[in-house]
Symmetry: C2
Subunit: 394 residues, 2 copies
Amino acid sequence: MTDRVNGFVSGDAIQMEGAADGPLKGLRFAAKDIFDVAGHVTGGGNPDWARTHGPATETAPAVQRLLDAGATLAGKTITDELTRGILGINAHYGTPVNPRAPDRVPGGSSSGSASVVAEGLVDFALGSDTGGSVRVPASFCGIHGIRPTHGRIPLKGIIEQAPSFDTVGWFATDAGVMERVGTVLLDRGGASPPFSKLVVAEDAFAIAGTDVNVAVAPVVGTAKGLLNGWENLHLCPTDLAAWQNAMFTVQQWEAHRSFADWIDRINPRFSYDVAQRFVMASTVTGEDVKAAERVRQGHQQRMEAVLAPGTVIALPTTPAPAPLRNLRQSQMREVRQRIVTLTCIAGAVGLPQVNIPVTTADGLPVGLSLIGPRGSDEMLLSFAGSLIRSADFR
Amino acid sequence: MTDRVNGFVSGDAIQMEGAADGPLKGLRFAAKDIFDVAGHVTGGGNPDWARTHGPATETAPAVQRLLDAGATLAGKTITDELTRGILGINAHYGTPVNPRAPDRVPGGSSSGSASVVAEGLVDFALGSDTGGSVRVPASFCGIHGIRPTHGRIPLKGIIEQAPSFDTVGWFATDAGVMERVGTVLLDRGGASPPFSKLVVAEDAFAIAGTDVNVAVAPVVGTAKGLLNGWENLHLCPTDLAAWQNAMFTVQQWEAHRSFADWIDRINPRFSYDVAQRFVMASTVTGEDVKAAERVRQGHQQRMEAVLAPGTVIALPTTPAPAPLRNLRQSQMREVRQRIVTLTCIAGAVGLPQVNIPVTTADGLPVGLSLIGPRGSDEMLLSFAGSLIRSADFR
């Protein structure tokens, strides 16, 4: 297989046949290089992580479930260093190509997984989403992606970043494949009544550009038509930036806890922007975290109030299409800041979110997102499928 | 030439014959890889610096003077990334070997230059010293080294770090070679009466360990014998840490100015400790700098008062021998902090300082330093030679 998009990790070509039979028989998948595969080093997108870790002794349960269900693992994929990024930039192994917009970043941190799915090199791919790492590359590369309810897929055997946010997610170009993979990966207990009401998140749409608003409008219209009712609503009583700041503080704190000892021991090489995030993370205090957790509780209560059973929220996945690859870091930081103001809405409080790919007037991929109540993952995937079948948005 | 100590930059072997005749005829030297040599890329100890810079069009005047004086350039040497370090650690190209203590760091940032001189691969080597980058590796590797008076050797054609501190310095194992190189490199105008009085810097000795105090005592004794008088003195009326903090603030500020645009454009890979210094440097404010410059002025006035014509100060070059190579970064930071409390004394205010190598009871190299008045560089080198000839301290 030729890796035209620099999405796969090179040097350790992993190929594992799935079980002879199962619900995913015939499908080929890739896994972000933070998932353990027994006998192989989990590289985490950083050469010093790879150098200082031995081969995994067990395969991550998420990968194993897919193999047991008949899917074939075709390789591991490039990730932002230790999942610390949402633009898909990797200074060590190269930034994977965004097949739909080659002069733009693919989004990350599950960059390689999105890239190889968008290029059609595999049927689906595993990623992880802490602060947007599945949703952003799905939007930028124009594919389906889900960040499931926090806790519904075991995190065992993956490189942990911020455990109270980390989730295992996946990408596909086909909505039906998204659903089939969900039946295998998601733990039981995801019950949700069918959606009957749409909430259009006004404050989230206000953050997105006109091009994105125009591009997602037809899907929102179709969704309204499929449901009994809808309303416009400001999700955050104050300002989405307040929710984002709180999430950022807690995520930094947890990421620091996950990696500080290794960093102190190894003095690893990072690209400057990744190192900068770790340095700033090391300055977060316990007091900062306490204050942020209070905001996060309010955020959670508000989202539970909005998401009565049968409710689904529509919002743009990202405020804009993917930025150009060659921006300055200071420009990239501004882009990132705007994006996480949207991804924090579900990410900070463990809610499931799916991306439905659409295209702007300029031909660039972006996405409409749906956020459902906790445990409504299957319903979200099914509703996304209905929307796709109801119209052609691509 | 076999590089047994990983001191030379590999991949671009530079060899330039010196002029047919001159005061340095027959001597071979190396230059830290921050000095431009026409036709070659100046690598600066960082692969992304090398990748984003073309070959130099002119040779740095300091290198050219040596070639014109008959010395042969045998190669460029490894440096801490962009001279940002004093321990000699380079995560990209490897930390050069300390030939006198192979399980310990060589000191830096002029690490490779000190390493190849100590191993005897060249007769002398060029380094640079902003906050200790010649003096520290000279002490750790047990060789002679000088940080000259600020401004006496042109900085043109070298990678600038903090211009109000940067100096060009050099290393040799032979005190006579130190003097000969000085006659070629130092601008005219370095006049100083012969030294007549020794000041023993009590507060500096108090920071050094007992092993260092014991090791340098015989040289101090000999110096007392060669001069008319001596006294014990606290250099800093308050605390050397105050001088060090002020120097650190201004140096960070200047280093940020030197590299911020390139970092923003390139997003380079750094080892974590180097990135951390740049990140913290970016948080220094103009107000911080103003306050620090006031302390620096007081520091300068005090040193001028102590260094009446004919006065020379004795102090330990480093508080301890080189630390082990495998320490944690948090431990390395503590070591660094202690070291710069000594190196800031001359470094913050542009004074010349030479290192005279001695050995601890454990057989580890350390150094006694002499600081003289501005422009007393030749006198310092000559006095160091007299001390060496008066006794065997090795």
